[in-house]
Each structure stands twice: as structure tokens, then as C-alpha cells.
């Protein structure tokens, strides 16, 4: 029995997106599709216990979910006449005549349609993220609510509103054409990246890594790469996530405190993930169509292969930030570049850069600006100015582990400042 439960759980993790995407094509409605797919997973427990786990669990689940959908649709003619979710007419199977088959290859793979619909630009970013977790990853509403620290009814309402908009506004269930693809794919990648960063640095609360979101984001990117192997930015994003996540074990100490890159125990880094990430980044660069994720991955891989911050190829890091700024002119990128500049040209030059960036309104309230300023001032032994900057950074930090780190640095510079004034 436990074995069967495990098989169903595995199929949930691996096949949910495929099963839901194929069922949505029949139902023309996400709510009904979700219901039928959930029923199929419940039915699987009994059926697989009785008959054994099928050779192709995904095909079995899809067939079962689609049968349920067709039954319901036959009974409810009114509902059926609405068929709200649009599918390309040329590939739309007629629900009543569709022949169900055990052959997985005969079931169209609609996962890309599903992802692009969930990340449609007519939906707000927070709705895109919630829909992707619910419909593509099969995460339950209470779990999504917990991950984003909102009350469950709020998350449920957000999902309902988004699905209602898809239906009422006729957001089409299709993969965008070549002309719109770059922009639409970028939205999909942004959603996945946001999932990752939310898990990686929980914006508030005590735990620095919400591992489940990180794993979901990586799995989602792997799936996307399998479906779109020729898109260098998908490759670049997977590389970036793997290379960043490879450092997971060293980012916090035994007590959950933040450990900065410089002090991380590099023997804890996941070498296999680093190797895979590097290969993917190289693959993305080889296409000659380099985007922001591939460049960020290249920067991450320079850190990943260095034995220490002292032996990191900082000149190359700065050069890659220059490339990144050309593709993606963002003040946050410029700020990160300044950190690398400090390692090449010294903290004084970097501080000038940071002061200049501080005048950019877009960075107002960005917690890493005063944090970076503080660190540069500390290295320049301007302890009183550093203390002031640390206080500003602490006021903006909402992650407990990060705040604790900043507070310990503040105590250090306050001590140094006091030592200097008493010692002369």
C-alpha cells in the first residue's frame, strides 16, 4: 500500500502538469479540469492497488481525468456550450468523438500552452505566480498561501479571480507565435525566477530558504528546457538557478544565521550542480543569443569555480556585468557591478559608484543599497559612516537572517569606532 501511495505521489510531482494541460483541452475550463484531475489521482490509489501501477501513469491519469470530464460535460449541456477556454481550432478535438487511448504519444503535450496561459501578460504578476504553482506544479492553495505569507482565503480569491479573467476575457490557451514569443517567454522565465528568489531569500520570516519553492522552480525550468530546448534563455535560467542553489548548504550556519559568500565553506558546495550549471551556461553562450539569465549564470559560475573570494576572477566578473548592463540596464545590476569593482579597483572607487547610484530614485528603499554602502565604508575604516549605513539597511531588511547579520556587523563597526576614539 505504501508503495502505491508513493507511486501516486511520484506521479503527482512528475505528471500533474501533463495531465492537467491535456484535460483542460477537453474541459475548456481550468476549474473543471482541476477537479477531474484531482479525482483521477484519488481513483489511482484504488485502481493501482487493485491492478498494479500502470506502465505509463501519466497516460492512465490523463485518460481517467478526461473520461470524468467528458461524463460531466455530457450531463451538463449548458456548461459545455460555453467552452470558454480557447484552443486553436485546427487542433481542437471534438470532446464527444475524441477517442481515448492508452498511448501516451497520442495525447498532445499541452504543458507549454498551460504555462504560457498562466503567465499571460493580461494577468498581474502575483496572479501569474499563483496560477503557475497551482495549475502547472499542482501545489495546493493552502501551501501556496503559506509560501507567500498571505491568508489562505486571500490566495484562494486571487486564484479564482485569475481563472475567472482567463474565462471571461478569453485569454487563449495557446503557445504564442514567433513574433510575441521572446516577450512572452520572458514573462514565463520571470515568474519562475520569482518563485526561486522567493524560496531562496524568503522576503520575511525566519527561514532563509523555503526549499520547496526552490525545488519547484528548478523542476519547472527543467521541464521548460525539455519542451523548448532551442531557447538559450531557458538554458541560461536553469544554469543560474543550479549555480546559485549549489551554494544552499553553506548560506546559513548551524543556527540558521546568514553566511556571506566570502565566509562560506566552499567544500559544502554541490559540485555536480555546479558542473551541470556551467555546462548549461556554456551551451547558452554557444548559441550566440545571450540573454540576461545566461550572463548572470556566467557570473555565478565564476564564483562557483573559485577557491575563495581572493582568487575569484573579479576582472572577468566586472566585464560580464558590463555585458549584463548593456542587455539589461537596471540600477540593481549596476549596484552589483559596483561590488565587483570594489574587488578590482578598491572600495573607494566602488563607493563613488554606489553614491552615484544612490541618486537613482528606482533604488530608493532597496535594502541592499545601504548594506553595500555600509560594507564599503567599513572596509575604508569609516566606521561611524558605516554604522549609519548599517542602521539604514537594518531598517529596510525584512528577512530575519539577513537582519541578524547586519546587526552583528553594526556592533562590529560601533566597537571599532569606539576603540578608535578612546585609543586616540
Amino acid at each position: 500500500m505504501e508503495e502505491i501511495e508513493q507511486a501516486v505521489a511520484d506521479a503527482h510531482r512528475r505528471e500533474w502538469a501533463f495531465v492537467l494541460a491535456a484535460t483542460a483541452r477537453v474541459t475548456g475550463d481550468f476549474d473543471l479540469a482541476e477537479e477531474c484531475v484531482q479525482d483521477a489521482y484519488i481513483a489511482a490509489l484504488d485502481a493501482w492497488t487493485r491492478d498494479g501501477v500502470p506502465r505509463k501513469p501519466g497516460a492512465w491519469l490523463t485518460q481517467t481525468a478526461r473520461r470524468k470530464a467528458l461524463d460531466l460535460l455530457r450531463r451538463d449541456k449548458v456548461f459545455r456550450s460555453k467552452m470558454p477556454l480557447l484552443v486553436e481550432p485546427d487542433s481542437e478535438p471534438d470532446g464527444t468523438e475524441m477517442h481515448l487511448t492508452d498511448d501516451e504519444d497520442a495525447i498532445p503535450d499541452d504543458r507549454l500552452r498551460l504555462i504560457f496561459t498562466c503567465c499571460h501578460p493580461a494577468l498581474a504578476r502575483e496572479a501569474q505566480v499563483a496560477l503557475t504553482l497551482r495549475l502547472v506544479c499542482g501545489v495546493t492553495t493552502p501551501d501556496i498561501a503559506r509560501a507567500f505569507l498571505v491568508p489562505e482565503p486571500t490566495m484562494a480569491a486571487r486564484l479564482t479571480r485569475a481563472k475567472k479573467k482567463i474565462t471571461a476575457a478569453r485569454i487563449p490557451y495557446r503557445v504564442p507565435g514567433a513574433a510575441d514569443l521572446p516577450e512572452r517567454l520572458d514573462a514565463v522565465l520571470s515568474v519562475i525566477h520569482l518563485l526561486y528568489t522567493t524560496g531562496h531569500t524568503a522576503p520575511s520570516g525566519g527561514e532563509l530558504v523555503r526549499a520547496d519553492l526552490v525545488d519547484r522552480a528548478i523542476a519547472l525550468t527543467r521541464m521548460l528546457l525539455a519542451l523548448m530546448p532551442d531557447e538559450p534563455e531557458v538554458r541560461g535560467l536553469l544554469a543560474l538557478l543550479l549555480l546559485t542553489d549549489a551554494r544552499r548548504a553553506s548560506r546559513t550556519d548551524a543556527d540558521g544565521r546568514l553566511v556571506i559568500l566570502e565566509d562560506q565553506d566552499r567544500s559544502l558546495w554541490d559540485r555536480a550542480a555546479i558542473a551541470e550549471g556551467r555546462d548549461l551556461a556554456v551551451g547558452a553562450f554557444r548559441t550566440g543569443r545571450v540573454g540576461r539569465y545566461a550572463v548572470q549564470a556566467a557570473i555565478a559560475s565564476l564564483h562557483a569555480i573559485a577557491a575563495s573570494t581572493a582568487t575569484t576572477d573579479w576582472k572577468q566578473v566586472v566585464a560580464l556585468y558590463d555585458v549584463l548592463l548593456r542587455i539589461w540596464p537596471s540600477p540593481v545590476v549596476a549596484l552589483n557591478r559596483a561590488v565587483a569593482v570594489a574587488m578590482v579597483d578598491g572600495p573607494s572607487t566602488a563607493l563613488d559608484e554606489v553614491q552615484r547610484l544612490g541618486e537613482d530614485d528606482r533604488l530608493a528603499g532597496y535594502q541592499y543599497l545601504p548594506a553595500i554602502r555600509a560594507d564599503l565604508l567599513r572596509r575604508l575604516k569609516r566606521f561611524e559612516d558605516a554604522a549609519e549605513a548599517y542602521r539604514a539597511a537594518i531598517a529596510l531588511a525584512d528577512n530575519a537572517a539577513e537582519r541578524e547579520f547586519l546587526e552583528s556587523r553594526l556592533a562590529e563597526v560601533v566597537d571599532s569606532a569606539a576603540g578608535r576614539s578612546s585609543g586616540g
Binding site: 449548458v78 480557447l86 499571460h120 476575457a169 478569453r170 485569454i171 487563449p172 510575441d180
Partner: protein, 112 residues
């Protein structure tokens, strides 16, 4: 085929008599583009300037548009399009988007 209201917002007071010749020329070229992209304009209206509007909230009657903003509703049309992607592609080309913007909103279809 689904129908959408495309509501046009232009800088107040959005007087149709003050449209520049350039804008009028763009409007004249708009119809053919709509058809080219696979849509049909079912009906549409331009409104007198917002200085002629009167608003009623509860039982209070006031002079002016319902919401105070830099842009006001200048008109609307009903667009028939196969899906939101097509509707948005068409709406984006409307000259109102140059100095104002449009809201695309599906018409309500009462359930059968």
C-alpha cells in the same frame, strides 16, 4: 465570437473637435488595420468633452466626470475579436494610446 468594450481615455477634456489633423489621419487608417488583424468594430461612439459631463453619486449631483483624473473617458467602441490576444493587438494600435490609453474589457454574456 467574443466582444470587448474598448474604452478610450484621453487627456482632459478630450474634446473631439480639438483632434489634430495627424490624429484624425491615424483614426482613418485604424479601420483597415482592425480588419487586417481579424477583428470587427461592431459600434462606437466619441463623447463631447468632459467639461460637459455631469456625475451623480448617491443623490449628489456634481459638475464634471465621475472620477477626477488627468485622463477622461473620450469614447468607446465594441470590438469583436476571436480572443484577448487579438483584441489587445488591435487595441494597442488605437491612436488614443499615444497620449492616453485604452481599457479592454469583455462584454458580459449572461449565462444561458
Amino acid at each position: 465570437m467574443p466582444q470587448y468594450a474598448v474604452i478610450i481615455h484621453s487627456p482632459a477634456p478630450a474634446d473631439p473637435m480639438d483632434l489634430t489633423p495627424d490624429y484624425v489621419a491615424l483614426l482613418e487608417g485604424y479601420g483597415p488595420k482592425v480588419a487586417e488583424l481579424g477583428g470587427t468594430i461592431v459600434t462606437g461612439f466619441a463623447l463631447e468633452p468632459s467639461t460637459t459631463a455631469t456625475s451623480i453619486r448617491g443623490d449628489v449631483v456634481t459638475d464634471g466626470p465621475f472620477t477626477e483624473a488627468k485622463e477622461v473617458v473620450a469614447g468607446f467602441f465594441v470590438l469583436e475579436a476571436p480572443d484577448l490576444d487579438v483584441a489587445l493587438a488591435i487595441a494597442k494600435l488605437n491612436p488614443a494610446c499615444i497620449d492616453g490609453g485604452v481599457e479592454v474589457r469583455p462584454l458580459f454574456n449572461p449565462p444561458a
